[in-house]
């Protein structure tokens, strides 16, 4: 696919924006790709619903917002309801059964990953939830390697926390194995 239009949605504290930034930064700094990232600010930032857009492509990206995502991540029910309608026909929805009940929609691929459960079980720190999600997204979009993501995380996260993040990343990556390169 020429261009990956991704939208990450969730609630204030879930770190979806950070995840989006890391993904886009990885694509640019370590995969030789072009990427832009943008987000919705506002009262949303204070508790409500948050949205981050990422476009990854091989060539210049001009208009930086995603109108119709090929892939939508929704980590709360509210975010899901709000954003599901914009998913491109045939697009992928990633959500977590812990937070979201998905309805059936014709012509969309709904992937439910028990990421929260996984993170709590394996790592026990909800703070790396977003990195786990990132692992899953990386596997599904297939153009960003987990090792590259780790390189970015190394510049952003104190040494002591790296391992935990690595684990979370792998967890997500593994969880999404069945959907590898689904989007490519």
């Amino acid at each position: 696919m020429e261009r990956h239009n991704l939208v990450f949605t969730g609630s204030g504290g879930q770190g979806v924006i950070t995840a989006a930034v890391i993904l886009a930064e990885t694509a640019v700094l370590h995969e030789g790709l072009v990427a832009v990232q943008s987000q919705t600010y506002g009262a949303a930032a204070r508790g409500g619903s948050t949205r981050a857009d990422v476009i990854i492509a091989k060539s210049e990206i001009l208009f930086p917002k995603v109108l119709q995502p090929n892939l939508l991540v929704s980590l709360t029910q509210e975010a899901y309801s709000l954003n599901y309608p914009i998913l491109r026909p045939g697009g992928i929805l990633i959500s977590d059964p812990k937070f979201v009940n998905t309805e059936k929609k014709v012509d969309a691929i709904a992937i439910q990953l028990p990421m929260y459960q996984g993170v709590m079980d394996e790592i026990g720190k909800p703070i790396v939830y977003n990195v786990c999600m990132l692992g899953a997204v990386a596997r599904i979009i297939g153009i960003v390697k987990p090792e590259s993501i780790m390189k970015v995380l190394e510049t952003r996260i104190p040494r002591g926390f790296l391992e935990m993040n690595q684990k979370a990343l792998e967890l997500g990556y593994d969880m999404a194995a069945p959907y590898e390169n689904f989007m490519n």
Binding site: A43, R46, G47
Partner: protein, 267 residues
Amino acid sequence: MPIKDYIRERFFPHMWCPGCGHGTVLNSLLRAVEQLGMSKNEIVVVSGIGCSARISGYVDFHTLHTLHGRALAFATGVKLSKPELNVIVPMGDGDALAIGGNHFIHAARRNIAMTAIVMNNKIYGMTGGQFSPLTGVGGMATTAPYASIDRSFDVVELAKAAGATYVARSTAFHAQECTQMIHDAILHDGFSVVEIMTQCPTHYGRKNKKGGPAEMIKEFKDITTPIGSKAKQENPGLIERGVFVEKDLPEYCAEYDKIIERAQGGA
């Protein structure tokens, strides 16, 4: 009336973060008004811009959400033009004392009967955690990444020096005290200032490693003491709570009425 009758329920839950002390100030304010038993139509709430300023949207009075720092200037127009109204002006610390510092001291100087509530969370909450004139030396903030070298104002001292005739301080922990002070301040016939220390767990708390909302609000108990307490003598670092000034001096609107009389040939 139950306090819910004083709010605009449709905007709840409000937009403040979990555990934001501003909510407790709202809570205290509503109780104070409830105790006063005033009609909602007699009350005007004027606010500036900031998380704190959003309080005006939540209360079912006449509400005026203005410009950053300018609430007291707008409020002065409201009050002087219609002195029978009770004007309450909740303000953030930045709002009241950074950009709004001049209006603060001048409202105090005039002794115009309004109640300024300074919701002091020691940070610019709304814009994401920059330091305020109340953060103080050593505080961490997005604009003080090396710890702040800016000394802080003492709101009480400043209000006193500027001429406020009712000056009190409390904290979100001491919610009942707050209610009492706001109550008294509204009744006071002159410019009244109530500083309430509140927690911003999202920015101040996070940057300054203060723990969650509960830890932050509990800290207010430990770092404050009633005015003139023994504890203060032993530990001068403690912040005093209580009513620092309460005096009767000519109120601006009342004095203006005398000018009108004089101008119209009376007196």
